[in-house]
Subunit: 165 residues, 2 copies
């Protein structure tokens, strides 16, 4: 189903790698794109555009100053990933557009009520990257085909095989 | 099955958060502990010990200067997670002790031959944290029970419920 990820509260200095990992995970597990709020970060956007240029797409990155606006204006269901939520294997999410929300360290209480679902990937502290990956894998699986890829890997028992298709 | 994670090439400044996420993911998805190589990082170890103190265990953190030694001396099968490997859903891993190896940016070629399995969680660039999470979820699922937890979450539709058991 068509999934967009919203990464909240990005701080370029501190979160560069974590937000980059979130975006790459979103792409690898079939999301259409990522919206991020917090502080605008052209370097992060460039990193993702470069990956899409080499490995294919489509995949968009969009900055939205207001996470509230991004959530409210999204046309579809909204699932907020949080360790406090309901176990993801027990939540039924109907087919249709889905916004998957992942926060940074402190998520405003309002997000819990704006979301249609508050979903936990285990009720233990771990990682928003991990939560996003397991959740997207659960609902969409691994994405295999990308358009316009300049690089493609041939899976192998040992070593690295990269092809130019 | 009994799983240990090996995180290679840790650099305290650059990798603090990523390695911490790897360790927390290892714990949340049932690994017995994490061995890390690269540069010793007492702060990282302390962070994990604090989580174990609050949320329970058992879960160990151990520094091993030589990743080669850690791999060679491990008694059991070794699975190296890499985007170049074989699709994880197609690899059969027998029951028994398992070392799951995740690298930092540049993994020495030798690791590919020391490992019994080179396994890909999708053949796209994304995140060692994500790869570890999806792989551990695939082989072990989410761990629900921890010994000695001072904090425990009650899953809820909205809001945060933390209990002191």
């Amino acid at each position: 189903m068509p999934v967009t990820v919203l990464r909240m509260g990005h701080r370029p200095q501190r979160d560069k790698r974590v937000t980059t990992h979130c975006a790459l995970v979103a792409r690898a597990f079939g999301a259409e794109g990522i919206i991020y709020s917090g502080v605008k970060d052209p370097k992060f956007e460039e990193t993702i555009h470069k990956v899409v240029g080499s490995w294919g797409g489509p995949f968009f990155v969009r900055y939205e100053k207001s996470w509230r606006k991004a959530i409210r204006e999204f046309k579809g269901k909204k699932a907020h990933l949080t360790m406090y939520g309901l176990p993801f294997e027990e939540v039924h999410i109907p087919k249709g557009n889905l916004l998957v929300i992942v926060g940074a360290e402190k998520v405003p209480g309002e997000v819990y009520s704006l979301a249609d679902y508050n979903i936990a990937i285990g009720s233990q502290p771990h990682s928003e990257i991990a939560a996003l990956a397991v959740f997207l894998y659960h609902i969409s699986g691994v994405k295999e085909e990308f358009d316009g890829a300049r690089l493609r890997i041939t899976p192998s028992i040992r070593g690295k095989k990269v092809n130019i298709p």
